[in-house]
């Protein structure tokens, strides 16, 4: 699965921002602790101040192993 790679600064810029009305970006860390956002967030972005997400580098997603404990 393809996701979009963020720098720490870019991640901070997206926290608390809506990419469409009533849906906020949710940057998460992958297995390698890279900050990423999903293709759904990038594709639905229409806010002209954040169109830069469409130019983010794409990487293959490797999830962290979820841990309930």
């Amino acid at each position: 699965m393809i996701v979009y790679l963020l720098t720490e600064k870019q991640k901070n810029e997206l926290v608390g921002v809506e990419f469409i009305q009533d849906n906020y970006y949710n940057p998460i860390q992958d297995f390698y602790d890279n900050w990423i956002i999903s293709s759904e967030e990038v594709e639905q972005t229409t806010n002209k101040n954040y169109l830069w997400v469409k130019d983010l580098p794409q990487i293959e997603y490797k999830p962290k192993q979820p841990n309930e404990k």
Partner: protein
């Protein structure tokens, strides 16, 4: 004279009442910006059924006992956010979506990577021995995920509907493995409802039929973090994990109230009619 005019407006020529919208259904339709006549009818019938004045339910007032329910109608986030109970823009349990979610008339499709919705319903508000909650989704693919839930750590008090591969179930409110409890389900889609009606019984219903009875004492919980749909909330970090990849069509939580076995089936029939009228039933 004025009263008679009003009567003329409300009643048709053959003296039968016109098919008026339920007042709360109409409030929801207006708030969520629903324009499709099919969706309007489905929503109106949902409210009437939940209130005990519909085709599926003429007896039970489920509506009063709901804390929050999410009809997921209207095909967009700005329609899906609203709590159907006492619908208003300022309802404290209106949803906020985050991460990868796409929207259609089928419901909210979570991406299984980082998408979820916050209900703003805190875990510590839940009554320990009298509550219930449910979720309806379309896909039938089992994977390690949560569709609706909360997990307090390190106490590990878990209240969720979902499938995890951990198969841990160590006591009160700790549901995992299969969908809940210890059963591994072949068919996981449709309506799953967990209910706590009497201590120590947790009952699991799949499409209105009880499939599990799990016994456990409940535990006091002071965790103020909130339930999420499409993932599980982690109380210690306020983060989320075990994201689901399902299209969710309905979710509900009833705090301080439960349903009998007979009511569970009627409740399912109400929800199933709602999904069928929108062509998204399982």
């Amino acid at each position: 004279m004025f009263a008679n005019r009003r009567k003329t407006i409300l009643f048709s020529n053959n003296n039968k009442p016109k098919n008026l919208f339920d007042v709360d259904a109409l409030a929801f339709i207006n708030l969520a910006g629903i324009t499709s006549s099919a969706e309007k009818t489905a929503i109106d019938n949902l409210y009437k059924n939940l209130k005990g004045v519909g085709a599926q339910n003429t007896v039970h007032d489920f509506y009063t006992n709901l804390t929050a329910f999410y009809p997921f109608a209207g095909g967009k986030a700005s329609s899906f956010i609203y709590n159907g109970k006492n619908p208003s823009a300022s309802n404290p349990y209106n949803l906020t979506f985050a991460g990868g979610v796409t929207y259609s008339t089928n419901g909210a499709k979570f991406n299984g990577t980082n998408g979820f919705a916050d209900t703003f319903i805190p875990q510590n508000a839940m009554q320990r021995n009298l509550n219930g909650f449910s979720v309806y989704f379309i896909e039938n693919n089992a994977r390690s995920e949560t569709q609706f839930g909360h997990l307090s750590r390190p106490s590990f008090i878990k209240t969720n509907i979902g499938y995890t591969a951990l198969k841990q179930w160590n006591g009160a409110d700790k549901f995992s493995g299969g969908v809940v409890g210890t059963t591994i389900y072949t068919n996981i889609n449709g309506l799953t409802r967990v209910n706590r009606s009497t201590s120590p019984n947790y009952r699991v219903y799949k499409n209105g039929i009880q499939t599990e009875l799990v016994t456990a004492a409940s535990e006091a919980n002071t965790d103020t973090t909130t339930f999420t749909i499409g993932s599980i909330r982690l109380g210690d970090t306020n983060g989320t994990t075990f994201y689901c990849d399902k299209t969710i069509c309905y979710a509900e939580i009833s705090n301080g109230h439960s349903l009998s076995a007979a009511q569970e089936l009627i409740y399912y029939n109400c929800i199933q009619q709602y999904q069928t009228e929108q062509g998204r039933q399982v």
